[in-house]
Structures are given as structure tokens and as C-alpha cells.
């Protein structure tokens, strides 16, 4: 009994913090999402308006467009990060001179605040002063202007996200690869498997849990990208890079439309959960039930 009470006592600070910073805001957002609340409107008070915010969500053409570009952004960013991260992780599994040095500097983007990343990339991509448009011009003869071309803006946000977050994928895949036992790989060679077969039949299934966990993390993060993109493109040109996070930000802050912003947030949260659940059901659950 005594040790049990001590356990709760030790857990208490964490639980209290979690409660106030996690549980309370979560329910607060849900509660707000059922209200009409704009402090600068004619009626600045919260007015309960049933589910009309949610009804508005469904008919919000801008929101649907945002969702579309968000999914494209998330798809291209996360898939590229996964492939690139895996290749880098494999490279870091080998020995080469200066490996520790490269492994350290390649993680530097991770420790940068998104707002800084956005500023740097804005500087690098500003036409006529940034290095990237100048390089693209001299290499491919293309005129890269993220203020005008929707495709250019979209591409640069994807590349920026890849630059920022690939190291996370690399690190988690290095951890997974390092912990693999060497024997099955030698055995597979002896069993006649070539490199490609070893990847698909041995490596990938054995690191699958780490891959899926990494995808979850990157997916959830990419779905709520705001500050980098806001800094880089402001969501434009037009609404080409008005990803869902940017959309919510613009609803909530410049327009102070708290109730509606909360409703979108809840919908996005719900979609995130559904996507992760689908991934889980598709990738992890079959393995577990087969083993059970």
C-alpha cells in the first residue's frame, strides 16, 4: 500500500502537468468548437451554436483546397524523407573517414526552430538575391520564383520539409539498423538471396516497426506544419501552399475566428487519427495477429 502511494506521489507532477497542458486544452478546443466566438465581432462573447461550425467546415471550399494541397505536401515530403533517410542510414552504417563528423552535422537541421528554417529558406529562395533561384537558373535554365509559381512554391516547401526532417528519419532508422542481429543477414546470403531480396525479405520486415513509428511521427508533424511555410510563402501564391495548419492559423489569428478554427482543428485531429489507424491496420496489425 505504502509503496503504491509513493508511486502515485512521484507520478503526480507529471500527471498534473499533462492534465493542464494536454487534457484541458484538448477538451477546451472541443468545447470552443461548438461556439460562435470572435472577440472582435459585434458580439464578442462565446455563443453556443450547436454544430454549425462543423457544418461550415463541410462547405468551406478553401478548406477543401487546403486539405488537397496538404495531402500532396505530406505525401511527397514523408515518402521522400523515408527513402532518403533510409539511404542515409545505410550510408552511415558503413565506415568511412569523417563519419562521426558527417553524422553530427547532418542532424543540425533538427535542432533549428521551424521559424528560423522558414527565414533561411526565404532568404535562399528570394528571387535575385537567393542562392537557390540563381543555381536553378544556371543549372536548368529555369526561372524559380516562389512568389509567382504555385508549383515552385509547393516544391520548395516540400524540399524544405525534407531538408528539415530527413535527419530524424535517418536517426531512427540508424537506431533500428544498428540493433538488428547480423546472423539473419549472413544466413540470407548463404540461402542465396541477392541484395534486393535481402532488402525486401529481411531488412524491411525487421525494421518495419521502426519505419511505421517514424512514419507516424513524420505524418502527424507534417500535417500540422505551420510556421516554416507561413514564414516562407505565407501560404501563397494564391492558396498554393495554404496547408491546413496555415489555414487554421489564418482563420484563428488574423480573423480571430476562434470557434471555427477550433472546429477545423478537431476535424484535422480526427483525420490524423484515422490515417494513423489505417496505417496501423494495414501495416502492423497483420503481423501481430499472425504471430498471436
Amino acid at each position: 500500500m505504502h509503496s503504491n502511494r509513493l508511486g502515485w506521489l512521484l507520478l503526480a507532477p507529471t500527471m498534473i502537468i499533462l492534465f493542464f497542458f494536454g487534457v484541458v486544452p484538448f477538451f477546451y478546443v472541443i468545447w470552443v468548437s461548438f461556439h460562435q466566438w470572435n472577440p472582435f465581432a459585434a458580439n464578442p462573447n462565446m455563443v453556443f451554436n450547436w454544430a454549425s461550425n462543423y457544418r461550415q467546415v463541410v462547405f468551406d471550399a478553401q478548406l477543401m483546397a487546403s486539405l488537397g494541397v496538404t495531402f500532396a505536401f505530406v505525401f511527397f515530403a514523408v515518402v521522400s524523407e523515408l527513402i532518403l533517410g533510409y539511404l542515409l542510414a545505410q550510408a552511415f552504417m558503413k565506415d568511412f573517414p569523417g563519419k562521426a563528423f558527417f553524422r553530427t552535422i547532418h542532424t543540425l537541421p533538427l535542432i533549428m526552430a521551424p521559424i528560423i528554417v522558414g527565414s533561411i529558406w526565404k532568404l535562399m529562395t528570394t528571387p535575385s538575391i537567393g542562392i537557390i533561384p540563381s543555381l536553378v537558373q544556371s543549372w536548368f535554365g529555369l526561372d524559380l520564383n516562389i512568389g509567382q509559381s504555385a508549383l515552385a512554391a509547393f516544391t520548395v516547401t516540400v524540399v524544405m520539409d525534407i531538408w528539415h526532417w530527413t535527419p530524424l528519419v535517418t536517426l531512427s532508422l540508424i537506431a533500428a539498423l544498428v540493433s538488428l542481429p547480423p546472423d539473419p543477414f549472413e544466413q540470407a546470403q548463404i540461402d542465396g538471396a541477392n541484395k534486393r531480396q535481402i532488402f525486401w525479405h529481411i531488412t524491411l520486415p525487421m525494421i518495419a516497426p521502426a519505419v511505421v513509428a517514424t512514419v507516424f511521427i513524420r505524418l502527424m508533424d507534417a500535417l500540422r506544419t505551420v510556421d516554416e511555410v507561413l514564414m516562407l510563402t505565407g501560404g501563397g501564391p494564391g492558396s498554393a501552399t495554404r496547408y491546413i495548419g496555415v489555414h487554421i492559423f489564418k482563420e484563428v489569428f488574423p480573423r480571430t475566428n476562434y470557434g471555427y478554427g477550433s472546429a477545423i482543428s478537431v476535424v484535422v485531429l480526427y483525420m490524423t487519427i484515422v490515417i494513423c489507424w489505417l496505417l496501423y491496420v494495414g501495416l502492423i496489425a497483420p503481423r501481430n495477429t499472425k504471430k498471436g
Binding site: 542481429p181 539473419p184 540470407a188 542465396g192 525479405h201 520486415p205 503481423r287 499472425k290 504471430k291
Partner: protein, 357 residues
């Protein structure tokens, strides 16, 4: 099936040389056991055979084809690792069928061969399980099944029984030997356990510190060990060794140990005064209680009865000698008995070179 030729093979890890010119010839269908103390290079040699380690110098041929530089997947060999190296995410059936799947064999053929291997190894009821749901012995058999399905030229085994308990080890020893008699495929088998080597091998290769000490049939090694190391390594319990000189007494040659014992000698060309090591196996020492049958008086230190036999440790001069007899001897520690040695069972080694005389 194929013969294997290991010709002057050297292995270096950087500046460290761990294998110093090893030569072994293995015939078609032979069961060869590499045996030696831990760290002597058995696994390294086997891994060079498999293609998992580079050969620093010399050549290895499988079936008359030099395989230096041939990758493991192209050597047509199977290997069973000490850890079994089962694929944790695959079922028993998938594990066993893996080599065939990699070779892109038709599914019907894979199923048929897996079923047959599972039957031979008594795994038929476990085909849908995953490795973590198996016992040690079952995992071992799955690894064997995966090795036999593709009918390779050579089987390589690296201490496959050392993770099993003593009883299961004996069972599996018999099973592997039976398997060999049935399949007649060349087997190279690594172990540090000389009993395994003796019971399973057609030919034993005794290794020490990256060198081959002796190659021969089990009983040849037992009867005529080429040097002190092999004599001490083969046979359990280990041979007794006494240091001393050849001496003559009453016109017959005798062994005079440094501790003052006088022991009978076989015919030997070694001259009087030659420094030798005198070896006699515990099981070749007879015991007589009163000395009427001749023999050397010794003082009993410890008696260890195991039921079927009795092991006696006794002090003679400064040396402790042990003997194993079938009789049930009841001798109190400290009491005197006599050890009887038949000169025909004595092994003599040069004291300096430790080679057999």
C-alpha cells in the same frame, strides 16, 4: 555433393594473423569435424568456406572450383549457425522454404520440399509457428530443415548443439549423424566438444591457434595422437601426463618421472636419459588393491563413483594421476592402492617438441 580442398589458407584481421596456412582435404560425402579450443579459428575457417570472410591467402575449392571471391549465394552451400539465425518474422514453413523462394522455385515445389523436410525433422505440426514460439531444439531443427531443402553441395555447421541442454545434445547428435547417412552430403562441422567430434566424424581436424595440429579418423587420433596437445584434447577425461626421463633398470627400459616414479615403457628407440613426456589415459590404468599383480603404489586422494564406472585420483610421487575403472572400488582417501599400466597403452612424447616419439 562435392569435395572440398582448403589449401594453405591464411587469415589476417589487419595486422593480426589468426590463421597460419591451414590445409584440409575433404572427400565427397565425408563428415569432417573441426575441433579445437575456443578461439582457435574454427568459425573463421568455416566462415571462409561459406564466403562470409575473405581469404587473406591460399585457396579454397568446392567441387574442384576455386571459390575465393565467389559470394556466399553462389557457392551452393548451406550453413547452420550457432544462433540458428532463423528469420524472426517468418513462420517455420517460410523459414525452411526461404532458400527455394530466393531461387524462384515454383510454389508447388517449395511446398512439397518443405513438407518433406518437415517430416524428416518432425516439424510438420509446427509449420505455422514463428521462431519465438519454438523451443531450442525445435529451432535447431528448423535451421537444419532450411539447410537441407535446397540439397546443397556442402553443409556447414557452426557449433549447432552448443545452445542445447546435455540430453537434447545427445539426441540431436544422433539425428544429425542419421541425416548424414541418409543424405550423404559433405558436412563440415565445427565444435569445441571433443565428444561430439569423436562420435560424429569420419575425419577430425584438430586445430589450435590457427593451425592444424592433426587430421585423422576419430579412433586413430585416440590411439595415436601426434602430439601432446591432441593427446590431451581427444579423450575424456583427459590423458595423464608425467614429465621425466628414459632410464634403464635390470636391463629393461623404464620411465623415471621427475617426481621419482618408475613406470613401464613400451619398446622405444628413445635413448637412455632422453627427456620425455609420458602419457597414459585414465581408462588404460588398472587398479589392484594389494599389489599382487604388480603396479605402482599410489595414495588415493579422491574417489568419484558415477555408477557405471569409478574415477580415482591418486598421488604418486608429486603427481596426481587419475584412473577410471569399471569395478566399484571402495578406497578411503589416504589409503594405498596400486595402479597397473600396460606398456602397450603408453604414449611417449618428446619433452621439447611435444611430438610423438
Amino acid at each position: 555433393m562435392a569435395n572440398v580442398k582448403i589449401d594453405n589458407v591464411v587469415k589476417r584481421y589487419g595486422a593480426v594473423q589468426v590463421m597460419h596456412g591451414v590445409n584440409v582435404d575433404i572427400e565427397h560425402g565425408e563428415f569432417v569435424v573441426l575441433v579445437g579450443p575456443s578461439g582457435c579459428g574454427k568459425s573463421t575457417l568455416l566462415r571462409m568456406l561459406a564466403g562470409l570472410e575473405e581469404i587473406s591467402d591460399g585457396t579454397i575449392s568446392i567441387g574442384d572450383k576455386v571459390v575465393n571471391g565467389v559470394s556466399p549465394k553462389d557457392r551452393d552451400i548451406s550453413m547452420v549457425f550457432q544462433s540458428y539465425a532463423l528469420y524472426p518474422h517468418k513462420t517455420v514453413a517460410e523459414n525452411i522454404g526461404f532458400p527455394l523462394k530466393m531461387a524462384k522455385r515454383p510454389k508447388a515445389e517449395i511446398d512439397e520440399k518443405v513438407t518433406r523436410a518437415a517430416k524428416i525433422l518432425d516439424l510438420a505440426h509446427l509449420l505455422d509457428r514463428f521462431p519465438k514460439q519454438l523451443s531450442g531444439g525445435q529451432r535447431q531443427r528448423v535451421a537444419m530443415g532450411r539447410a537441407i531443402v535446397r540439397d546443397p553441395q556442402v553443409f556447414l555447421f557452426d557449433e549447432p548443439l552448443s545452445n542445447l541442454d546435455a540430453k537434447l545434445r545427445v539426441t540431436m547428435r544422433v539425428e544429425i549423424k542419421e541425416l548424414h547417412q541418409r543424405l550423404k552430403t559433405t558436412i563440415v562441422y565445427v565444435t569445441h566438444d571433443q565428444i561430439e567430434a569423436m562420435t560424429m566424424a569420419d575425419k577430425i581436424v584438430v586445430m589450435r591457434d590457427g593451425r592444424v595440429e592433426q587430421i585423422g579418423a576419430p579412433l586413430d587420433l585416440y590411439d595415436r595422437p601426434g602430439n601432446v596437445f591432441v593427446a590431451g584434447f581427444i579423450g575424456s577425461p583427459s590423458m595423464n601426463f608425467l614429465r621425466g626421463k628414459i632410464a634403464s633398470a635390470d636391463g629393461a627400459k623404464q620411465f623415471a618421472s621427475d617426481s621419482g616414479l618408475r613406470l613401464p615403457l613400451p619398446d622405444t628407440g628413445a635413448p637412455d636419459g632422453a627427456e620425455v613426456i609420458y602419457g597414459i589415459r585414465p581408462e588404460h590404468i588398472g587398479v589392484s588393491a594389494d599389489g599382487t599383480a604388480g603396479g605402482v603404489p599410489v595414495n588415493v586422494v579422491v574417489v568419484e563413483p558415477t555408477g557405471s564406472e569409478t574415477q580415482i585420483f591418486a598421488k604418486a610421487g608429486g603427481d596426481v594421476i587419475d584412473a577410471i575403472v569399471k569395478d566399484r572400488i571402495r578406497a578411503a582417501p589416504g589409503s594405498q592402492i596400486h595402479f597397473v599400466i600396460d606398456p602397450a597403452n603408453v604414449h611417449l612424447f618428446d619433452a621439447k617438441t611435444e611430438q610423438r616419439i
